[in-house]
Amino acid sequence: MSEPLLAVEGLSRSFGRLVVLASLDLTVEAGGIHAIIGPNGAGKTTFFNLVTGALSPDAGHIRFGGSEIGSLPAYRRTALGICRTFQNIRLFGSMTVRDNVLLGLHCRTHGGLLSPLLGVPFRRTPAEVSARERAEEILALVGLADAAGRPAIELPYGEQRRLEIARALASAPRLLLLDEPSAGMNTQETIELEALIAEVNRRGVTILLIEHKMSLVMRLSKIVTVLNFGQKIAEAPPGVVQRDPRVIEAYLGSE
């Protein structure tokens, strides 16, 4: 069997006395869409924060593409090919839609503080021109090409979520972590989102998806991991997980 893209071993994290993740083992194979579900407080977002480096683990290993990344700062993990979206949208509010995507290209472009003084006066540098072309492509992919010049905070909610995906895609991730991308979306927006996620995956990006809308999970994912109280209680293809008594109990509670 080939090396998994992401392999997490014994990952633990507590906040004070609250154990949020308890020695979690999880592997994500390259190429697919892997969903993580579980009741609120199961540790899903904490898991994302640990993988992306926003939090450091109390114990455990995180291997990405075969190398240990557990102690790397967040921005270096992004450069290695891990990027995410946020459950509570965290776009750069003072920036335009285009600039948000261009910021996502930060780790794939060069240019320091003095570069504005270099180059042909009053003309964009070649690096800036090609970055902008790339940003336009990504905005077209998520259907926001017409909104490029607008302030990001002026976008409707559903479009802000797609802009979050566009910004993450700009960093050219191998593994994209989506944290409840359909939250607050209506049916039509959810259908469009599903098509977008499928298309991104088809282009070779492995996707790890936290999602509450079961219909979306069922249609998109190849494999579903169920977390409850920081532990993995089931892992199987979506159809199997749905009928698992432990999963039903976790969601509906026992007698």
């Binding site: 285009r98 910021l103 930060h106 003084l117 490029a148």
Partner: protein
């Protein structure tokens, strides 16, 4: 031709604009400094020492003033890696005071009696020349990789890190660049006043520099330029009220901050004037 008096007002206003820009640069990355007077002192004393004691040519002394400001900015940037908001303001304020006290107790730099005999070198053309370079730099910065990283860091530091921005590097670069600009401002100042003492670069200086930028608005570097120009020329325009001048000045600042807490040039006004170029909302 302009009178010597008018030129003198313009030179001081220009140096105030340079100082306000030195505050704006780190502020555009979310790093508030209440110690820009300290960097200005370092630039002023370094350049003056070189021209007076080593007969250095003015351009070289100017560059050295900027360099020392930048290097110390790098050092001061380190606490900024862990501190935010008000705590950072306090630490940078402390830095400004430390610099003042060091020069106060350094006989080689004249101590409390000040440093005199600096050769006249700064002309209006030096000031305008540096301002032209800075305006060009800031115009280009807003549409560049680093400019966007600054804005992202100010909006949401954790999200910026998650998107691949090395916040440590960006913050240090912002502080160092702010230090370079303030150091250059100090060097120009010393070679115009021809006499400097530590009190010229104390808390008052740092706070006024901050006021200029905030008064003008932090949404764009134009705010720092407009704010510093108005507030440093205003006392001249208020001469007719004589003894009431400072009260008038204070009331004007207070009124504006009450009416426009976001400063003279806010995002909406900038979009209308389309001074922000790419950032202005496009139709479509």
């Amino acid at each position: 031709m302009l009178s010597d008096h008018t030129i003198s007002i313009l030179i001081f206003a220009g140096i105030d604009v340079i100082m306000a820009l030195s505050f704006y640069l780190p502020a555009s990355a979310g790093q508030l400094s209440a110690g820009q007077g300290g960097f200005m002192a370092l630039g002023a004393y370094t350049a003056a020492y070189l021209t007076v004691h080593h007969g250095a040519p003015f351009p070289l002394a100017l560059a050295a003033g900027g360099l020392v400001g930048g290097l110390v900015g790098l050092v001061v940037g380190f606490p900024a890696l862990r501190l935010r908001g008000l705590y950072l303001v306090l630490v940078t304020f402390g830095f400004g005071e430390v610099v003042r006290v060091i020069f106060l107790n350094a006989p080689a730099f004249g101590g409390p009696a000040g440093f005199a005999g600096i050769p006249p070198a700064t002309t209006i053309w030096h000031v305008l020349g540096l301002l032209a370079v800075l305006v060009y730099f800031f115009t280009r910065l807003s549409g560049s990789r680093m400019g966007r990283a600054f804005a992202a860091l100010r909006d949401d530091e954790a999200a910026a890190e998650a998107m691949g921005v090395n916040s440590t590097y960006v913050k240090l670069a912002a502080f160092a660049a702010g230090g370079v600009i303030a150091g250059l401002g100090g060097a120009l100042y010393a070679h115009y006043t021809l006499f400097i003492d530590p009190e010229a670069f104390g808390v008052g200086r740092s706070l006024f520099v901050m006021l200029y930028a905030v008064f003008g608005g932090l949404a764009s570097f134009w705010g720092a330029i407009v704010g510093a120009t108005i507030l440093s020329i205003l006392p001249e325009l208020l001469r007719w009220v004589k003894d009431w001048r400072e009260i008038f000045y204070g009331l004007l600042v207070l009124t504006l901050m009450l009416v426009r807490p976001q400063g003279l040039l806010d995002a909406t006004l900038l979009a209308r004037l389309s001074l922000r170029g790419e950032r202005a909302p496009a139709r479509g």
